[in-house]
Structure formats: C-alpha cells, structure tokens
Amino acid sequence: MTELFDVTLLNSTIRMIAPILLAALGGLLCERVLVFNIILEGTMLIGAFTAVAVSYATGSSVLGVAGAALAGLLFSLLLGLFVVTLRGDAIVVGIALNMLASGITTFLLRSLFGVKGQFTSPNIQSLSTWDIPVIKDIPIVGEILSGHSWVVYLSWLLVIVVYIFLFRHRAGLHMRGVGQNDMAASTLGINVARIRYAAVAVCGLLVGIAGAQLSLGQVTLYVENMSSGRGWIALVAVMLGRAHPVGVLLASLLFGFSDALGYRLQGSSLPSQIAVIMPYVVTLIALFFQQSRKKQQV
C-alpha cells in the first residue's frame, strides 16, 4: 500500500512538473535577453482557457494545444510591445497584463459559456496519453514514466532543444549577447528589439502550452484563475536555475514534486488548505538557500 503511494506520487510529480518546466523554459529565454517577464502566470491562464475553449469547439485536444500556444504567443507579444517598443516599466506592465488575463478569461468564461467559477463538458477532449513501448512494462519505473500526456514528453525534449539552441545556434548566441551587453550587440548588427520579441514570442508559445497541460492534461476542466501561482513558481525556477535549461529542469523537479505532494496530502490528516500551500512554502525556502549563498553586502 505504501509502495503504491510512492509510485502514484512520483507519477503525479512527473505530470505536475510539466507546466512549470515549460513555463520556466520560456521564462529563461526572456531572462537571457533581459526582458523581465512576470506574466508567466497570466499567460498560463490564457493558455489554459484557450485550450479548453478550442478543444470544446473542435473536439480535438491537439487543436486545443495549438490554440493555447497561439493565444500565449499573442498575449506575450503585448509584453513585447509595451516593454520593448514602448519602453514601459516591466513590472507595471506585468501587473496590468496579469490583471488583464484574469479579467478577460473570466469575462469570456461567462460570455462564451455562460458559467461562473468553472467549466467542464464531455465535449472537451483531453490530451492523449502515450504508453511508451518497452518502458511501460518495466515494473515501477514504467508506472512512473509511461502513460503521460504527450505534452509532458514534449517538455523533456524541449529542455534539450533549448540547450542546443542557446549554446549552438546563432540566434541563441545573439540572445546571450543581448542579455550581457545590448549596446555591444547592437553595434555588431543585431536587432536587439527583434531578438527580444523573438524570446518573448517563444516564451508565450511555451507557456501557452503549459496552460493547455493544466486544463487538458488529466481532468478536462477550466477553473477561474486555475494557474494558481504556478507561473510565479516557474519564475522562481528561472531564478534558481540561473536561466540555464538544466538548472531550470532541476528547480522544476523540486517544485513539481512539492505540488504533487501537496495534492497527495490533501487526502491525509493534514487539512487540505494547508496541504495546498506546500509548493509555495517549498519555493520560498528554496529561495532562502539560493539567494543567501551569494556574498552578502551590508
């Protein structure tokens, strides 16, 4: 019985890492080009909503993911517009855009579906899961790793893709350069604004998909403000992982695990409202350790 407990927990962990990891991969690109992106939360919400809406309308979860990616991309382009081109303060713009996301998703929830609070329907197709041949038959490991939605496997692949992009591709080099010295990059012929927009757009795409995993991943359901701070946790993952794909992966592992643990504990003696705050506490504590390792100034 305890064995099953652990396996299910680890299985949930793998699933819950995905949205944080995807959002963090996107976030790290923005950090590399020095666009302070605090709208991971709002973008994830937009993605989650769009995924449900499109899946409902078309009956296809793949289209749902595509819609979420597109919506995330377009939403993030607003950040690009207001911060990169119009030079607004990234924090003010971020707060406003998060508000916008929250307001507009609730607004559309009521306008389009006529419901309050949450929306679900048998017409919404959930993400198809993959049973990985060979691995699925390995005892324990198989139960943990196999049978997840394809978005989960995509997120792992993307860790490698982002790594290769950042360190082997021209555009990745340009992004790293822009983040270190945008004036130098500009004098060497790089269109700094265009690079920043590119980073922001790809980030939006990834975070939109993260949202789709949330609402179509296991239970097909959209709840108001369902991103529940995961966008912020992803931002912390970027900080802890120092904007490096591997670092971000490790941080996401930690947070995904605490997320799953929180859910797990809801059924136990620990009251549900306390269990649910587990990931935030873990995130905060992780920050204490990381930041205080740096040399303290008075």
Partner: protein
C-alpha cells in the same frame, strides 16, 4: 610616407555638424593616406569624437562630404561604415564578458550551417587572423578573464575580422598602464606597416609625438591645422590645441601636513572566488594633504571606496577617522565623524535625478535647524539655504526646484560638491571627481579641492587619469591587485615609475 597615385584612404571635406545651436564641427577638412597613423588631437569638447562618429556612421553631418578611397559615401549607420571597411574601437569596450574571445569576435557574423555555429571553423578563423597581425590570444578564454590591454586587442581584432582597413581608436590609452600602452603602439605600428590606416583620437601629446605620422588639431569645433609629427613639438601642439600657453601643473602652496585624519590599517576583503580584493591595505591621509590613489581600474579601488564609506564591511583591519574607529559603523555615523564623499558615478550614488536640486542638496541636512523642526520639513528656510550654497558653488540653474535631470554633468558635480563641502567635514573622498565634466567645471573642482586642502582638510583622490593625480596630489599611492605597492611624494614621482607600479611589475616594500 610615400607619395602614391592612389586616392587618399579617407577624405572628410567641409564637415559641419550642429546640435541645435551648438556647432560641434565647423568646416573640418581631413585627408588621410593609406597606411598612415593620424592623431586627431584636441581638448575635451573640441569635436574630435564627434567628427569620428560622423565618419563611422553614428551621426550624419549637417553639411560636407566623405570619400573613402576616392568614392563618395553617405553612411546611415555603422553598418554602412563597416561595409566600407571602417572599424572603430570605442573608449568603453563593447564586449560580452561571459562569452569567449571567439564568440565575441564572430558575434553577428558567425560561420554557420542552417544557423548552427561551426565552432571549429570559428576558432580556426580567429586564430589565423590573430596570427596574421601578430596578436597573441587564447580563442577559448572568457573575456572576463582578460586584462584591459588584452580586451582592447580583442576589440581591434573584431574590426579586422569584419575587414576593416581603417581603424579609429577613441582615447585608447585612457585605461592602459604605460607598459600596456607600449604594447598597443607596437600593434598599431605593425598594422600600419601592413597597410592599415589608423586614426587615433587623443589628447595626450607625448603619445601623438611618439606614434603618429601626422597630427590634426581641433579646437572648439574648428580645424586648427594638420602637421607632420616629425616637424613639430609637444609645445607647439599644445599651443595649437589650447590657443594659449599651457601650464601643465596647477599652482598650489606647499602642503602643510598636520595630524593624520584618516588611518587605514591592514584592511582586507575577500571577494568572490576566494580572491582577496583588498590585501592588507595600510595608509594614512593627513590634514592639509591631497593623497592621490593611482591604479588601473579594477585593482581594488572600488572595494576600497566601498569599505571606506561603508557600503561594504571589511573582513579584517581598521579604519580610523579623527581618532574614532569607524570600521563597523554605519554610513551615517561615518559621515557624522567628518566624512565627505564625492562618488565616482554621480547618477548612481550622488544624485536622484528625478528629484529637485533642493531635495538632492538636503540629503544629510534633513534634521538640521533650517531644514526641519520637530520632524516636519521647513521648506521655505531650506529653499533659502539652498539658494545660498548653490550661489557659493557657482551652480548655473534657474531655481532650486528645478529637476536635477535638467542640469549638465559639470553643474551636477558642483551640486554634489556644494552638498558635501557644506557639511562639517574634514575628510573628503573624491572618486573620479572630474569624470564626464567639462573643462571649466573641472578647473573649478580642482580649485575647490585645493582650497579645502589649504584649510587643513584631508583629501583622498582616486582617479584613473594619471595626469589628474600628478597635477594636484601631494603624495601618490599606487594600488595593484588590492595592495598598496607604492607611496611617493609628488616631487619624487615619475610617470614611468608609477606606470611600473600600476602594472605590478615592481613590487617594492610598502612605504608609508
């Protein structure tokens, strides 16, 4: 210089550049042959940097023509200039600290397939280029690990990688030790002999005489003349540059040294990577003297300043000001002990540029009797007080309520001086006090500092400009790798010796 039948490499004809009413370049003519090393000489504000920025495509001229190798060109941006084989090495390096030498050089023009960088070919190309022109580099080193001179050579390589045949260098020796400068000159002579044309923007006349073939002198935006370097002297160049007899040292009475005001003992600070950024630093500053701290930027000056004023706590050692041990005290306490601070970066630490001049002046005085009463501000009294000291320190502005951001650099520096010098202080820490400040304000600032010194105050002057240090100091300290490696009275100080100390090549016993 051989006469040849080829058109001149660079011709600038009748160049005029106006910024509003200000005429930065007034009908300048420049004609440079291939392979020539041309010095472009003038004081701060003479227009030499403006002229070169026009040549490099950063500005468009208000009037005039530019010809490169006989072809008339019009540049809209530096990329157009680069396409015509021009390159520029700016005073402040444009490097990516966390990227490798190779990545810095190829950035923007990477050898690649489908966008994926061909690392082997990049390293090969860069190594071959370096070898061809006699540079010694490690292609895989991170730029952050390089010395200043090495970084500058990477900047030159960058221009060569992009096919530059004309290389413009803007005040390249400002941050170099005399030894690194010699190394640079060797490189530039080598390039010149290989047919590259070099334009050197400088105000250092000894270098002009040493390195250039010809020198063009600008004064207040106008062309004074172009001379063959071998036919002229430093004095003549100086006269052309300034239009009057130049006094190279500032007159001041002999120092009347009094008690030590600041005593620094065994100050030690360990930075990242476990390296000591301050290593057993010991020195005194007495009342009535100006102690100048010379050194290449990055050898501990910043850490010393931060530790003295109180942004950082030293790991070991003591700081004693007017007899009181302030090593562990707050900035407020240190200031109360008589500490005045003119920060290196006035925009970061000296001012709040969104606020009014009055509010900028009041910091440190807010609890004084003409600024507040019972915790509430007395604005009218403060306003009058401000007008008084702004007048006293020759600050040009319409009213103390004006926003700080509207004032020029020189004026703002005077505001800072007004504030710091109006406090009851006898120790002044002046960090690069004339950086980015026009000639008039610079002279004024020197006058004020010397006046305080004559009154008996103790002044520690930190500057990357060796000329400045040698002009007004009574005693010179040299810092290298976090250690004080020399202490020399001004009448014994020789520039070459100081240069050696600055580059760490002679580490004698510490003299007090």
């Amino acid at each position: 210089m051989e006469q040849n039948t080829f058109p001149p490499e660079v011709e600038m004809i009748g160049i005029v550049k106006k910024f509003g009413d200000l005429v930065a370049n007034d009908h300048i003519d420049l004609c440079i042959e291939k392979g020539e090393i041309r010095a472009l000489v003038g004081e701060n504000g003479a227009g030499k940097t403006t002229l070169m920025r026009i040549l490099f495509g950063l500005y468009k001229p208000t009037a005039g023509k530019i010809r490169i190798r006989g072809k008339e060109v019009s540049f809209n941006n530096p990329h157009d200039a680069i396409a015509e084989q021009l390159g520029m090495v700016h005073q402040h390096f444009m490097l990516f600290e966390d990227l490798t030498v190779t990545e810095n050089i190829i950035f923007g023009r990477e050898p690649s397939q489908v966008g994926f960088i061909n690392h082997k070919r990049s390293i090969q190309t860069v190594s071959e280029l370096a070898e061809k022109y006699g540079f010694h580099i490690n292609p895989e080193a991170k730029v952050s690990s390089l010395s200043v001179g090495e970084k500058q050579r990477i900047e030159i390589l960058k221009t060569l990688y992009r096919g530059a045949n004309v290389i413009i260098l803007d005040e390249p020796t400002a941050v170099l030790t005399p030894q690194e400068r010699d190394e640079l000159f060797k490189v530039l002579r080598g390039l010149s002999s290989q047919g590259k044309t070099i334009i050197l923007i400088t105000h250092k006349l000894p270098e002009v005489v040493e390195l250039s073939h010809r020198a063009t002198v600008l004064r207040r935006g106008k062309l004074v003349g172009t001379v063959e370097t071998k036919d002229t002297t430093i004095e003549e160049l100086a006269r052309m540059m300034v239009g009057r007899e130049v006094f190279l040292t500032i007159e001041k009475p002999l120092a009347e040294i009094k008690q030590p005001v600041l005593q620094v003992k065994n100050l030690t600070l360990t930075g990242e990577h476990g390296l000591k950024t301050l290593n057993d630093v010991t020195f005194d500053v007495h009342g009535g003297e100006i102690v100048g701290l010379a050194g290449v930027a990055g050898n501990g000056q910043t850490e010393l300043v931060d530790t003295l004023i109180g942004f950082t706590r030293a790991d070991r050692g003591e700081i004693i000001l007017n007899g009181k041990n302030i090593t562990h005290e707050s900035i407020a306490t240190r200031r109360a002990q008589g500490f005045a601070y003119i920060p290196e970066d006035r925009y970061r630490r000296g001012l709040a540029i969104t606020e009014s001049i009055l509010e900028n002046l009041s910091l440190g005085f807010q609890n004084d009797e003409n600024h507040s009463s019972h915790g509430m501000l007395t604005r009218r009294a403060a306003y009058q007080w401000a007008k008084g000291i702004l007048d006293e320190y020759d600050v040009r502005l319409s009213s103390p309520e004006e926003t700080a951001g509207n004032l020029s650099g020189g004026n703002l520096q005077k505001v800072i001086l007004a504030r710091e010098f109006s406090k009851p202080v006898n120790f002044i820490l002046a960090d690069q006090p004339t950086r980015g400040v026009d000639i008039g304000a610079t002279e004024y600032i020197y006058q004020q500092i010397i006046a305080r010194r004559n009154k008996g105050d103790a002044i520690l002057l930190i500057s990357a400009d060796l000329n400045e240090i040698m002009s007004i100091s009574d005693r010179i300290l040299v810092i290298y790798a976090g250690m004080i490696v020399a202490s020399i009275p001004i009448n014994e100080a020789k520039e070459e010796d100081i240069g050696l100390y600055m580059s760490g090549s002679t580490i004698k016993q510490k003299v007090d």
